[in-house]
């Protein structure tokens, strides 16, 4: 919302500078995002009159002009402009000027002749024809003859205002107007509010005899219409055009400008119809017909539906209510009779229509935030007073006014104690009273009880919490700068703690960090084709899709973690980082059905990837992480479609439930992502591990008797696994088994193709000293078992 310093001054006396005011407004919750000085680039530009023009002695296209600056003396200026003449009054930029287009003026010589400045175009002053005639021409701006020579151009053109660009929060639609912000200024400074001029004179003819209004939709709670006849369409006066220009509104003609002026000043959107175009002299407020078409002022034609509200006559829609006017009934140079609309439309209806057709106007911006019931009346009366003041036409008596019930004035009752308890600081009662009254909230305080009457434009104020905010923002939040309350001084002690998932996740992450992995951070959004790239054909193909994505690359929610890390490795390779060990903690999202009818199942995972480790090293890292939980697991071959079937494993419990999968990436997937074939990938389902979050230990006493060690090397076929052999050794040793470790694998031609030698170190222990005989006996059993079950031979 843009307002100007001078416009605000119409309604409140301000002594502070614009900068001081901006700071105070920001501190009161009306954040001034930008303070624009209209004359920032107009210093060293003055009004001058060209007295004499001569040809430049050495350049065909240049002219040497003698320019009078009145009391400021004369200057010589060389120009290439062609639209100048002797006697023309023009803007002259002098040495030191710093124009809006970045041009800096200094004395210079052009082809040997001195020039002490430059004539300016409208564009160089930042204005166009809607501000002053001639400003849009391609050439020098020719000023009216009555301008005072030597005067600074900002004063001469009235470009000496300061514009406040204020960020209005959605709870304050009343501040989408000059008077709204002025009321805040009054409250901040404790100054009285100077009411706008609502006076006007009417003729005897009655508006209700010329126009009738039918309200046929619940989306319009009030519709007011005034009629003006003998209208002379012409230009608005300079002061109005200047103010509109300052807040970014183009001047059109006196009627339209006045409606816009009221919109900015009062916050009430108005619409002006050419009365002759309203067929049947009847205005009908109704829902649009399905497919009803209307051509509007932005040169587009829209097809409407029942949810859109229109203002129509007997035959057709004239206006998309609250959003934009139609071309047919708009004011034109031949208009002589005008109907002014001032209405209250439902904010949701306007918002929906505006969003749907993609048209946002100053009017819709106000309606969709909420225009209050009384605003319509104030707006139309202010309009009529401008019509009267500027002699735009004859106002018919009476305003047609169709409305639902006038809403009751809201009252709030709360105690000063409640306010102090919410704020945690004591605000003196007289300050509470002063602030609320300053904001237009009439209030009485008796025995610590506040009785407040909320003004109609403050629909956001409902209870003591709302009042406490009003009080503190005007009183000043800096009061907290000196508040030094002890932490949770008056509240209950509560037990803090991590949730199970966060606690376990931290342990696993740390295990990976200590194994050399770096944590990656990935979007959980992905492109729709990841399952094809990952060779996945199961339910994971069904992904949740975003209805309004930014781009296809991030249009779906991942159902598998692998995509993210594989992409990270591919990226790192592309920039020359070949050694990549990464892990990622994040979620996958599995829909129960598509399209979604309920929330998808979200699972927490830790995934990891490595280009530096072989299978065994990578396995050690995965297990180090999984073993942060108390899961009792074993390994089986994995069937994950994105892993190499021969070089991958699942971590399962005794029931075969899978907790993690890892191994070399499937060669096809490696190719799809452009990562090396030897790349290792793993994923751990954190949620499934949660039941095992607590690792418990039962420590057995250490045996007093010595451990006996024996080494045993057997030759077996390649397909016999280490785990099988170790399990067989353990079971054959029986109760004196203590530990077994594979210490060597050996392959040679002598052993034969498809055979390997596996050498184990076996440790035996008992609660007595083992005899040689017992040990020999057990070792014989072991060998026998290995022979019998796995065809092993002693090497």
């Amino acid at each position: 919302m843009k307002v100007t310093y001078k416009w605000l001054k119409d309604f409140v006396d301000i002594e502070d500078s614009a900068e001081q005011l901006a700071e105070k407004l920001t501190n009161a919750g009306l954040e001034v995002e930008e303070l624009i000085f209209q004359n920032k680039h107009l210093h060293h530009v003055k009004v001058g009159k060209i007295i004499k023009i001569q040809k430049h002695p050495d350049a065909d296209k240049l002219q040497v002009c003698q320019v009078s600056l009145g009391n400021e003396g004369n200057v010589q200026i060389i120009t290439a402009a062609t639209n100048i003449f002797e006697g023309a009054v023009v803007p002259v930029s002098l040495p030191g000027a710093d124009l809006v287009n970045g041009v800096k003026i200094q004395k210079s010589k052009l082809r040997g002749v001195e020039s002490e400045g430059m004539f300016c175009s409208g564009e160089e002053l930042g204005i166009d024809d809607s501000y002053i005639d001639g400003a849009s021409v391609n050439g020098i701006l020719i000023l009216p003859n009555d301008f005072v020579l030597g005067q600074n151009i900002d004063e001469a053109l009235g470009l000496d205002d300061v514009i406040f660009d204020v960020n209005i929060t959605p709870n304050r639609p009343d501040c989408m107007s000059v008077i709204g912000i002025a009321r805040e200024v009054c409250a901040i400074y404790g100054k009285p509010f100077k009411k706008p001029d609502f006076k006007y004179i009417t003729i005897a003819e009655r508006a209700c005899d010329k126009i009738s209004v039918e309200r046929k939709s619940g989306s319009c709670s009030r519709y007011m219409a005034a009629v003006i006849k003998n209208v002379k369409i012409q230009k608005s006066p300079d002061w109005m055009r200047r103010r509109l220009f300052a807040v970014g509104i183009k001047s059109i003609n006196n009627i339209v400008d006045a409606t816009n002026y009221v919109l900015i000043e009062m916050g009430q959107p108005l619409h002006a119809f050419d009365k002759s175009k309203i067929e049947g002299n009847t205005i009908i407020v109704r829902d649009a017909f399905e497919g009803e078409k209307i051509s509007v002022l932005n040169h587009n034609t829209y097809s409407l539906s029942k949810s859109d509200l229109v203002i129509a006559d007997k035959n057709k829609a004239l206006v998309i209510a609250g959003v934009i006017g139609g071309t047919d009934s708009c004011i034109n140079d031949n208009t002589t009779s005008v109907v002014i609309e001032s209405a209250v439309f439902d904010l949701k209806s306007v918002r929906l229509t505006s969003k749907k057709i993609g048209v946002r106007t100053d009017s819709s911006a106000r309606y969709e935030k909420g225009v209050y019931f009384g605003s319509a009346e104030q707006g139309i009366k202010r309009m009529l007073s401008l019509v009267c003041q500027l002699g735009m036409g004859d106002i018919l008596s009476g305003i047609v006014d169709k409305f639902d019930e006038n809403p009751m004035q809201r009252k709030i009752s709360c105690t000063c104690k409640e306010i102090d308890e919410i704020l945690g600081v004591e605000i003196p009662q007289e300050d509470i009273k002063r602030i609320l009254n300053g904001l237009g909230v009439e209030c009485q305080i008796d025995n610590g009880i506040i009785n407040a009457k909320v003004p109609p434009y403050r629909e956001d104020l409902e209870n003591g919490y709302d009042l406490s905010e009003e009080i503190i923002r005007i009183y000043g939040y800096d009061v907290y700068d000196n508040v030094k309350t002890r932490l949770f001084e008056k509240s209950t002690v509560t037990e803090g703690g991590l949730d199970d998932k966060t606690a376990l996740e931290r342990k696993l992450k740390n295990a990976l960090v200590y194994n050399g992995f770096f944590e990656a951070l990935n979007y959980s959004l992905c492109p729709p084709d990841i399952c094809e790239k990952l060779n996945i054909q199961d339910n994971r193909r069904f992904m949740v899709k975003i209805a309004n994505p930014i781009g296809e690359e991030i249009s779906c929610l991942r159902t598998c973690m692998a995509h993210s890390l594989l992409s990270n490795v591919a990226y790192n390779f592309s920039v020359g980082n070949k050694l990549v060990d990464l892990f990622d903690a994040g979620r996958t999202y599995a829909p129960n059905s598509l399209p979604l009818t309920d929330l998808p199942a979200e699972s927490n995972w830790i995934s990891l990837i490595s280009t530096t480790k072989d299978f065994a090293e990578f396995k050690a890292c995965v297990l180090a992480a999984v073993e942060e939980s108390g899961l009792k697991y074993h390994l089986v071959r994995s069937a994950q479609p994105f892993l190499h079937p021969g070089v991958s494993a699942d971590i399962v419990d005794e029931n075969g439930k899978v907790y993690a999968s890892f191994g070399q990436i499937h060669p096809v997937v490696a190719k799809n992502y452009g990562v090396p074939k030897s790349c290792m990938y793993g994923q751990i389902n954190l949620d499934e591990l949660l039941p095992f979050k607590d690792k418990t230990f039962v420590v057995k006493p250490v045996s007093k008797f010595p451990i006996v060690e024996r080494d045993l090397a057997v030759v077996v076929k390649e397909e016999i696994s280490n785990a099988d052999l170790m399990a067989a050794i353990k079971s054959a040793c029986g109760k004196i088994f203590y530990d077994v470790n594979l210490f060597d694998i050996y392959r040679s031609q002598a052993l034969g193709e498809g055979y390997k030698s596996m050498a184990y170190n076996i440790k035996l222990s008992d609660d007595k000293t083992l005899t040689d005989e017992e040990v020999t006996d057990v070792m014989a059993k072991v060998l026998k078992a290995l022979k019998f079950r796995y065809g092993a031979t002693l090497r």
């Binding site: 959605p170 308890e421 949770f488 803090g496 949730d499 998932k501 992450k509 960090v513 930014i550």
Partner: protein, 339 residues
Amino acid sequence: MQEKLKMLSEQAKAELKEVKDVASLNNFKVKYLGKQGLLTEILRGMRDLPAEQRPVIGALVNQVRQDIENQTAQKQAEFDKMELEKELAKNFIDITEPAKGHEKGALHPLSKVFDLLIDSCVAMGFKVVEGPEVELDYFNFEALNIPKNHPSRDMQDTFFVTDNILLRSQTSSVQARAMQTLKPPFKIISPGRVYRNDSDATHSPVFHQMEGLVIDENISMADLKSMLTVLMRRTFGEQTQIRFRPSFFPFTEPSVEVDVTCPSCHGEGCRLCKGTGFMELLGAGIVNPKVLEENGIDSKKYRGFAFGFGVDRVAMVKNSISDIRSMFKNDIRFLKQMK
């Protein structure tokens, strides 16, 4: 005899001085202390002495032997020490050689900051609660006093999946869920991932927030101030100050923006904070009683405060990261700097 012993002692002393290595020390030992050594020879000569002199000479011989032995032992210790030093000097390795396969990795800067924030809050009595990222419109908006088609929805651009299901645009959704399931008084924080339809150097469509909610009987803006002061001091250092500015959020009333003194200049004004000395970091306020009621908490009895902020931004400020997108690129050269 005594003369002889004295001479022998002196001769040994002089000779020992000349011993320069272990071999000559051994020869020396044999020469004086050995079975055929000079001292033994003197002892043998004792037989010729009169009986009354024998004990005197005997004691003298023993003393001379003792002296020589002590001096020899001392010499031996010197040689041992030299030998050890020689040995140690020979065993020399390059201490800068890498330990292959044993380098540590590192957490992402975001995780480090999350851990710090979470631990700080846990120490103040907050429990960590997480919620779904794919969320019902109801919890993300309506339960937080943001009705459908309300202008306050424009404050954030939301990704929708269906009319009623969306990617949460704020971790505040967990506030509503917590209020509906937990019994007051309670303090919770909810760290997590949020989504907005927005992407440039300072906005990522996926980013992270941490939400805090305290519901109790005597909660005020002053408590909010003291709690956030502690949290921000733990995050940015002990000299950190915070200040409130008025703002608007549909679920808090009063609502404030919380500025934190710039961690780079501590309020003096520098380039990072554009000369203001402060950084706008959090949104906070007293929980709107309408929100309490909507979520089943008696607003006559309980009051609460809530706060929320972007954690990526905190991680960026703390680690001098200027582009939020670099946080999600996972370039090893970026991540290695967190070691």
